[in-house]
């Protein structure tokens, strides 16, 4: 991992950095100076991996999906992040960051959430470590991901609605930043994706990189080769994709495919397909690609999936897109819903709406009979049952 690595100022090529107000300077500087030393200390690594094993349930299986493979006439493996404790990959990062917060002596945790998976994963580790937790969530998402709101409350977290803008993930992120500005000394902000100021994108990618670390040895065991032809993942901010791509970045025979949410269609005006619609700029303290007007105002995104309903992508993905290392495709709301039903009926797995986007493009990439395709199944669909019952004719 050299060519695609972040530089010491937090840049991936043209993207990244830490465009923070002075109010956050001390916190961010402390993180920048300490994060690598803290997370690679042997005691930290030991505790992190122990928790991933005993608490999260890692390694998650790499499952050969026989019937899905037959349908697409290729060899499809599913990385089962849906089987993580709390139901999605998000917990890999929250375990890492809560341990980091403890090392920094922080006494209070805040987070933003879209689908509620990161909120639940944060509330979970806060319960585990006995730290107070406030989760910001857009009003729209509170309504469409109600089961996760209840779960966070069960776990003892306070859920605060974000009521500005589109009332979704971007606005929840704004509120969490405001909270951090007002409480810089005692609070750690557990960002849920590879977004935000340096070092968050790199730190979250490192915690999530366990996904591709496992895929490599699991594939070797099952196929004799560590390297697949394709790795496919959905992209909201991009943390599950960053984790699934991470240890393949320098193996350029492996095609990395990132799938964004096209909403009602890329050019429908209701979309979250960042690479198709976005331009470079500064959002949430990093230089990256995001959807904006000619005047530089952020455009409100749309996706049926709360976790992908975000106007930007993390700087690592902006860079992978820019240099062509990853290919960016998109799937519409309808295509994602079709993929949900297909996976449910073919494999007996009900995926999260976010993850379903990664499956929806299978027919578009020209897979061949002998190809090995890994799809990162980032989460399970329990939280989306309401939407499925409303939108899918059974």
């Amino acid at each position: 991992m050299e060519k695609f690595k972040v530089d010491k100022h937090g840049y991936y090529g043209k993207f990244g950095g830490a465009y923070i107000p002075e109010m956050l300077h001390k916190n961010i500087e402390e993180l920048q100076n300490k994060y690598l030393d803290i997370i690679y200390a042997p005691a930290f690594q030991k505790e992190f991996h122990q928790l991933l094993k005993d608490y999260v349930g890692r390694p998650t299986p790499l499952y050969f999906a026989k019937r899905l493979s037959e349908k697409y006439a290729t060899n499809i493996f599913l990385k089962r992040e849906d089987l993580c404790h709390t139901g999605a990959h998000k917990v890999n990062n929250t375990i890492g960051q809560i341990l980091l917060a403890q090392k920094l002596g922080k006494k209070r945790i805040i987070a933003e959430t879209g689908a509620g998976q990161h909120g639940v994963a944060t509330a979970t580790v806060c319960a585990l470590m006995n730290l107070p937790c406030v989760v910001y969530m857009g009003e729209v998402d509170i309504a469409r991901q109600a089961p996760n709101v209840q779960r966070m409350k069960m776990l003892g977290a306070e859920v605060r609605p974000a009521t500005s803008g589109s009332k979704t993930l971007k606005d929840a992120t704004n509120e969490a930043m405001r909270d951090w500005i007002a409480h810089p000394e005692d609070t750690h902000y557990i960002i849920g994706s590879v977004v935000g100021p340096h070092p968050f994108p790199d730190m979250v990618a490192r915690f999530q990189s366990i996904i591709s670390e496992e895929i490599r040895w699991q594939l070797k065991e099952q196929t004799g080769s560590e390297l697949p032809n394709y790795v496919i993942a959905c992209v909201g901010g991009g943390s599950n994709a960053a984790g699934a791509f991470y240890h393949f970045l320098d193996d350029e025979t492996v095609q990395l495919i990132a799938v964004e949410a096209a909403g009602e269609g890329i050019h429908s005006g209701k979309s979250a397909a960042t690479t198709a619609l976005g331009k470079p700029g500064v959002l949430h303290s990093s230089k990256t690609l995001f959807m904006q007007t000619d005047d530089g105002q952020v455009v409100e995104p749309h996706s049926i999936s709360a976790g992908l309903d975000y106007p930007g992508i993390g700087p690592i993905h902006a860079h992978l897109f820019d240099v062509g290392r990853a290919k960016f495709l998109s799937a519409t709301d309808e295509q994602a819903l079709d993929a949900v039903l297909e996976l449910s009926r073919l494999e007996g797995i009900i995926p999260a709406l976010e993850s379903a986007h990664a499956f929806a493009i299978l027919s578009e990439i020209g897979v061949k009979k002998d190809d090995t395709v890994v799809i990162n199944l980032s989460g399970r669909g329990d939280k989306d049952l309401d939407t499925y019952l409303k939108r899918i004719a059974l």
Partner: protein, 257 residues
């Protein structure tokens, strides 16, 4: 060459009153009239806010004014059109304040050139950090002879404050406490030590306290502890739904005395 901001602090030194307003609020064309009213009521300097959809360092009042201003059609381009002839009427220092993204989309070089053409004296970009300023944008400020104004907070170290003082040539914006704009804060109790710490540094640049200054008492307190004070949210709030701008401004400034 001294700039308008330096001249102001040379002439008056203390009790400087600066007011923040959001361009395009409450109506799209209100700005020139507000500037005139502020000047004629004795305000020493004005910060003109450039609205942004996602102002992460601002509280609800300024956020709301940003949303309204954007919905009213305010853009950087339109702002420069409104400010084109402003120096015919306004002689007090004017500072632009806003998040970096709209300026980047306008073209940063072009943004500074246009600001200079309108007679703007300084720029405050809260999300332009010192590293990026020193390595990318600082030369553009020099090229256009515009002042970049830095913020400091209770967490900013003495060493960093001194560095900011070295690269500043106007004033230093002293954020009163850990807060976003519009916060309700107990200034007296917690902040004296912080302000005293700043005083012991003997900075070259004057200091102006902002965030949480909202009435006669908080203003007097800020004036005791720095060369000036900035009133933001409290002024933005009184402009909402007001028909008669010059009366509103006169009333507001009067009750501060």
């Amino acid at each position: 060459m001294t700039n308008r901001i330096q001249q102001l602090f040379k002439q008056k030194e203390n009790n400087i009153l600066s007011v923040f307003i959001t361009a395009g609020y409450p109506t799209v064309e209100a700005l020139p009239e507000i500037l005139k009213a502020l000047q004629s009521n004795g305000v020493d300097m004005v910060e003109i806010g450039m609205p942004f959809s996602d102002p992460t360092a601002d509280g609800p009042v300024i956020q709301h004014s940003n949303t309204i201003a954007i919905n009213n059609g305010m853009t950087i381009k339109l702002l420069f059109e409104q400010l084109k002839d402003i120096r015919k009427d306004i002689h007090i220092p004017l500072v632009l304040m806003g998040y970096i993204n709209p300026a980047l989309q306008f073209g940063f070089d072009n943004f500074l050139a246009s600001a200079k053409d309108c007679g703007i004296d300084g720029v405050i970009i809260p999300d332009l950090p010192m590293y990026e300023y020193e390595h990318i944008y600082g030369n553009l400020f020099k090229k256009h002879d515009l002042q970049n104004i830095f913020l400091i907070t209770p967490q900013t170290s003495n060493e960093r404050i001194q560095k900011i003082d070295q690269i500043s040539n106007s004033f230093i914006y002293v954020v009163s406490t850990h807060a976003i704009t519009g916060a309700n804060i107990d200034l007296e109790a917690q902040q004296v030590a912080y302000f005293d710490r700043i005083k012991t540094l003997n900075l070259r640049n004057p200091t102006v306290i902002g965030f949480g200054i909202k009435d006669k008492d908080t203003l007097a307190f800020a004036h005791k502890n720095a060369n000036g004070a900035i009133i933001g949210s409290a002024f933005v709030k009184v402009l909402e739904n007001r028909q008669n701008i010059s009366e509103t401004v006169a009333d507001f400034i009067q009750q501060l005395q």
